[in-house]
């Protein structure tokens, strides 16, 4: 920062006056032999390096943020930040940020841009959207969203609905859909469950990446420390079940290297022992569950219950042959799990991203229900939402109604994905063919499908078919580089936004992001404001659906509901005081958690936890009527390999693999590191330089191979090798890691960018390029772990 004599004198003056104001203004300190006084202040913010939503205290010097800490009393992070959070200023100050609206000049992807004014940019997009709408084709607008936090997702959905397009894909939990669908079928809950770390004694993790890439990461890191040494005299136990020896496995008391895709069977094997030995929670099962015992429906037909199924099909011996684990081990963990309450069973990508992910999740949910670990101290909590005021109703005109009546392009909600909310990975072929209709304009918000979806090349080809692509990204990522118009958003230090924390605490809580700088670093605008601006310019019903000046106004409208309840951490005499306190404290929360509210919270047809999923049964029956297909035919299309009552009960479906055993002998299990968890950290040198501490790897990619396996195929540590699947091949460095299952190889996710700034570009490989798409059709998501590969020396 350049300072002339006049400013210097002014600052010295300020510093002298500041003697009476401790902390506000500080004394001078040396820098390159010079003495320059500075002004310091602290403000709050919310981190966005992952979806956890941690509270930030931002230390600014002379108006520039210089250090991030956690907000001390923020329940989610308790004053702490993870490495990604700490490196946040490298997001703000990234030299390769987009600095103004850009219009494509040359060919797509050529990086030939022309800077334009916001006025022109908004005119361009508005005119395009107007024309499309006037032509009666509003459904040909598609919006792909990624990290849409807080009310941004609602704002986006509102715009799409008022405009008249059903093609809104904005799910921020990609890769974890199996978990969500499992919860939906057993409990009717469309959310993740929180862990009550404060009281749990025994944690059984089915492939949950607790200490690397879980959500909310910081809460789980804290929880781990608390489990170990938080309570005098008690040291809780952690058991990690996964094929790869991860950081979580290394910190666990026991690591169970299971055969990939068989977690569900293990859960059922444990249930077998617990039921046989009568170690289950009788009261909870009698009062709050359905389908444990055999039961009779209204017509008098007897249906199989969970108990019968498990006792019949999943004895430790049967499960041992599926999972490759010794019988004694299965019995031992079942016995520990049911003997040292409170115990919980957790799940993660490892279990959820298989073709049998939904059933496996249902099996683990059932295991938790057996011992009454749900909504109980030391158990899994059902996250409560903050009582926001709902926005006024959306105004729809005839064009919007007609557009919304069109089918979704991705086919979500219809066969073969009847329960899916969205299927982004099914898009390439549909866009390519233009069936059932072409896409005219694509909006991208905080998402980068050309990097994050399997077979990105196919997506790229599909994008060629879309005449107009608009990106709101602050960074020149792969997909933004392929767009026609860029309306850059600021970073999370430069905008108003609320952030509802990921389920982790149970009680309702949200954080409020507000600009930490006087004005954005560059000529960028909050996408929330831009959307409202576009809506206003378009006029008519769309304008009427957005009765606010800007996004901050919309937020205030929602947050008024919270002020009105007079509950929680902020008590104020009027809304202005409430709002100011909210900015000062960074968020609002309303503890404690109300345990044992099962009757209200299980949102299933029976109002109970369903071992036998009536939600699933009803869904499939309705589908059968609607599509006039027999149930058996539907099951075939969903690739479910069983019949009768078992379909609605948690059971083990054999996982499907892509690539024949002989040609492709290895499972490709890509994983996420703490430093790159969401794949967005590659543009931060602080994170690049500490990438993989277990192998001391940095600034690059590598593939982990079991040392004995490597010896057999003549691969040495550090060799360049090819990894090849049916979709493609990648060349990268081999690292021999004894924690690798002999039948698996592992590539960390997050590198291999072809864009995304100087630190990320042309560095390492992206395992998504190897993935072939198969699906868990029931859950409606792509199974990221189904691809098999071969490796050979380059």
């Amino acid at each position: 920062m350049k300072i002339n004599r006049r400013q210097l004198l002014k600052l010295i003056g300020a510093a002298t006056c500041g003697m009476a104001l401790p902390d506000k203004i500080l004394h001078a300190l040396p820098k390159k032999g010079e003495w320059i006084p500075y002004e310091e202040y602290w403000s709050t913010g919310i981190c966005l390096q992952c979806p956890s939503g941690c509270g930030l205290r931002i230390r600014s010097v002379n108006h520039w943020p210089v250090k991030l800490e956690g907000i001390k009393d923020f329940p989610m992070n308790k004053g702490r930040l993870c490495p990604k959070g700490q490196s946040g200023l490298q997001v703000l100050y990234d030299p390769d940020r987009i600095r103004c609206p850009l219009k494509r000049k040359g060919k797509r992807g050529e990086a030939n841009w022309e800077g334009i004014s916001w006025k022109d940019a908004i005119r361009l997009i508005t005119e395009r959207l107007q024309t499309l709408r006037q032509a009666g084709k509003p459904h040909q607008l598609m919006l792909l969203g990624g990290r849409t936090r807080g009310h941004m997702s609602e704002l986006m959905a509102r715009f799409m609905e008022a405009y008249g397009s059903p093609n809104h894909l904005g799910n921020p939990s990609r890769g974890s859909e199996g978990i969500l669908k499992g919860h939906l079928f057993t409990m009717g809950i469309k959310d993740f469950l929180a862990i009550h770390w404060e009281e749990v004694n025994y944690v059984l993790s089915f492939g949950a990446s607790l200490l690397e890439a879980s959500r909310p990461a910081i809460r789980n890191l804290w929880g781990y420390g608390f489990l170990r040494r938080g309570r005098p005299g008690i040291r809780g136990k952690l058991v990690q079940i996964e094929p790869r020896f991860s950081v979580t496995a290394s910190k666990a008391d026991q690591w169970i290297p299971i055969q990939p895709g068989t977690d569900g069977a293990l859960a059922l094997g444990m249930a077998h022992w617990i039921i046989k030995e009568k170690k289950y929670d009788r009261t909870f099962i009698d009062r709050y569950t359905f389908g444990f015992e055999d039961w009779k429906d209204r017509e008098g037909n007897t249906h199989m219950g969970f108990k019968t199924l498990v006792l019949k099909d999943y004895s430790p011996r049967q499960v041992s042959s599926i999972t490759g684990l010794p019988e004694e081990m299965i019995i031992k963990i079942a016995s520990e799990f049911s003997s040292y309450p409170p115990s919980i069973a957790l799940t993660g990508r490892g279990l959820g991203m298989q073709t049998n992910g939904t059933y496996a999740q249902m099996a683990v949910d059932s295991l938790n229900a057996l011992i009454g670990a749900i909504d109980h101290p030391g158990g899994l909590l059902l996250q409560r939402k903050p009582p926001f005021q709902t926005w006024p109703a959306i105004q729809k005109d005839g064009i919007a109604e007609k557009g919304l009546s069109e089918v979704r392009l991705d086919g979500a909600g219809t066969l073969p994905f009847p329960f899916a909310e969205e299927i982004p990975s099914a898009l390439p072929e549909k866009i390519q063919k233009g069936e059932p209709y072409p896409i005219d304009t694509l909006l991208l918000y905080y998402t980068n499908p050309l990097f994050s979806l399997p077979e990105p090349e196919k997506f790229r080809n599909a994008l060629e078919k879309i005449p107009f692509i608009v990106s709101f990204s602050p960074f020149m990522d792969e997909t933004t580089a392929f767009s026609d118009l860029v309306l850059p958003d600021g970073t999370y230090f430069e905008r108003w936004q609320d952030d509802q924390v990921e389920p982790g605490l149970g009680f309702p809580m949200f954080g409020l992001r507000h600009p930490a700088l006087d004005q954005p670093l560059y000529d960028t605008r909050n996408t929330g404001d831009v959307i409202i601006n576009i809506a206003k310019t378009m006029g008519g019903n769309i304008d009427k659906s957005f009765p606010w000046k800007d996004f901050q106004g919309a937020l205030k409208d929602a947050i008024k509901g919270i002020y009105a309840t007079k509950r929680g951490s902020i008590q104020a005499k009027d809304f202005d005081e409430f709002w100011n306190t909210l900015i000062e404290r960074g968020g609002w929360w309303d503890p404690p958690y109300p345990f044992g509210d099962w009757r209200k919270k299980f949102n299933t047809p029976s109002g109970k936890f369903e071992f036998y999923s009536l939600t699933l049964e009803q869904g499939l029956r309705e589908l059968s009527e609607k599509s006039s297909k027999a149930l058996d035919q539907i099951l075939k299309e969903l690739k479910i390999g069983t019949k009768g009552d078992r379909v609605f009960l948690p059971h083990f479906e054999k996982p499907r693999w892509i690539g024949e055993e002989v040609e492709f002998p290895f499972h490709l299990i890509h994983y996420k590191l703490m430093t790159t968890a969401e794949g967005r950290g590659a543009n931060q040198p602080f994170l690049q330089e500490i990438l993989g501490p277990h192998l001391k790897e940095k600034w690059n990619s590598w593939v982990e191979i079991n040392p004995e396996t490597a010896e057999k195929i003549g691969i040495h540590d550090g060799d360049l090798i090819w990894v090849e699947s049916k979709a493609g091949k990648l060349k990268t460095k081999a690292r021999l890691f004894p924690g690798t299952h002999p039948q698996c190889i592992h590539i960390p996710y997050g590198q291999g960018h072809q864009a995304y700034g100087r630190w990320a570009k042309s560095r390492g490989v992206n395992p998504n390029e190897l993935l072939v798409r198969d699906y868990d059709h029931l859950g409606g998501f792509v199974s990221y772990f189904s691809t098999k590969v071969k490796v050979y020396k380059a």
Binding site: P83, Y93, F245, P707
Partner: protein, 232 residues
């Protein structure tokens, strides 16, 4: 008089490296970049090292965060020909940067390898320079630098306490690494105060110090990982 010390509970540490990044941001340590990092020239005042041993499926992996041990009998200060490094009255092994002439004898005499040399002029892209901490000294090419328990924070806290005419509370001042540790595995405080958290933890049955047999008397204590114990 204070005697600053740190305790690292390995049973709680998850190897996440938040401490590493926090330290670099607080102390203006630039990233080395790919080439220099592979030459082993990246500066990590707080460093997390790992050890992997065994064969599948009997594998072990351990993480060890290593800051400067702030030895009570530091081998590094003894060999400095210009007294650029010294143990300050509060026990911190400090470095007077303008006095350092870069002979690197301290680096070779440190058994913990926690001293770092500036092999090149530290540089940041222009944009990052806005985010530099004005409280720490700018180290040039050719001099040695090291962890100093965030001495700028301690200095400031002492001024505050003095102004308010009171005693420092336990945990009132902590280095950046301790402040951020997500699993609360790091502790910092006054070893001279028998009631402080670090004093009590340093006497734990699990406590040990690195290379204790060398007689360097480190003021960084580690707590060993434990066994499962249901508290019966």
């Amino acid at each position: 008089m204070y005697r600053w010390g740190m305790v690292i509970d390995l049973d709680k540490c998850t190897g996440c490296q938040a401490c590493v990044v926090a330290c670099r941001q607080e102390n203006n340590i630039p990233s080395a970049g790919e080439e220099e990092a592979h030459l082993g020239r990246a500066k990590f005042w707080m460093n997390v090292v790992s050890e992997v041993k065994g064969n599948y499926p009997n594998v072990e992996m351990h993480f060890l965060p290593i800051p400067c041990m702030q030895c009570d009998r530091p081998p590094c200060t003894m060999v400095c020909p210009v007294a650029a490094t010294y143990k300050n009255p509060e026990g911190i092994v400090a470095q007077v940067y303008p006095r350092c002439i870069g002979v690197r004898m301290c680096i070779s005499n440190c058994p913990y390898t926690v001293r770092y040399f500036n092999w090149y002029e530290p540089s940041w892209p222009e944009e990052y320079q806005k985010g530099l901490n004005p409280d720490v000294y700018h180290r040039r090419k050719g001099i040695t630098e090291k962890c100093n328990f965030c001495i700028q924070r301690i200095r400031r806290a002492k001024e505050k306490v003095k102004k308010e005419k009171r005693k420092m509370r336990d945990g009132e001042v902590v280095p950046a690494c301790v402040e951020t540790c997500p699993s609360e595995a790091l502790y910092f405080g006054d070893l001279n105060d028998p009631k402080s958290r670090v004093s009590r933890l340093s006497k734990s049955r699990r406590a040990f110090r690195l290379l204790e047999e060398m007689g360097t008397e480190p003021k960084v204590y580690y707590l060993k990982e434990g066994e499962w114990d249901v508290g019966e």
